[in-house]
Symmetry: C2
Subunit: 130 residues, 2 copies
């Protein structure tokens, strides 16, 4: 449906929050201030950390903070970190294969479309969300 998942939406909000803060912030703080489910956001933060764009410190006074400058984090990266499938169609994916066996007659054009969409998502970074 050509829609970003809630996971990505929440991820972007959280990263924006961290960027504005410039310091460590807890999941609780972010989820409260933005009306996001705590448990759900907790998972998302873990995924973002796994990607390496943020780091975490556990225990009292712990939380998450950015590892990179906001303008170094394009939306594409957030999407890739939080969604399994990030391609416009099956046939523009590497690890998937086109269901309609044989000649997919739109594969070429779809690849070009895919590239352009990626270019757009790449041109916007967390810095643009501030």
């Amino acid at each position: 449906m050509l829609r970003l998942s809630k996971r990505v939406e929440y991820g972007l909000v959280a990263l924006q929050h961290l960027a504005k803060r410039g310091d460590v912030a807890t999941v609780r703080e972010i989820s409260d201030e933005n009306n996001i489910s705590y448990d759900l956001l907790a998972k998302i933060m873990q995924d973002l950390k796994r990607d390496g764009m943020i780091y975490s410190s556990q225990g009292v006074r712990g939380g998450y903070a950015l590892m990179l400058a906001p303008n170094q984090i394009p939306v594409t990266r957030v999407v890739d970190a939080l969604e399994d499938q990030s391609t416009i169609t099956e046939c523009t994916s590497d690890h998937e294969s086109c269901t309609r066996e044989g000649a997919c007659t739109i594969q070429g054009p779809m690849h070009r479309l895919q590239e352009q969409v990626e270019r757009v998502l790449n041109s916007v970074t967390i810095a643009q969300l501030l």
Copy 2:
């Protein structure tokens, strides 16, 4: 998940088929040649007709054909005709409202993103699929 639905994918294939043919084609013909479920494609064609980009004639020797030149049918139009939600997020939609009550802190930037994605989808037409 930022993916076009099968409905749109099949719709594009069907329109490409009609464009290449330049004449009336039946659902059966299109579905057979492209490995698409007949029943499913039949519904899609009805939706495309309702939009006005193709016309139909019933009965023997009937079928579907383009109403517009291929370069007059942008992908956007196909998406709009075949998908309920065609926006990147809830908050960039007109008839939906942001679930997270109160201040959605990314609404502005998301609108700008939405515009750019639409521009891309608008720049590609059925003519480019040939």
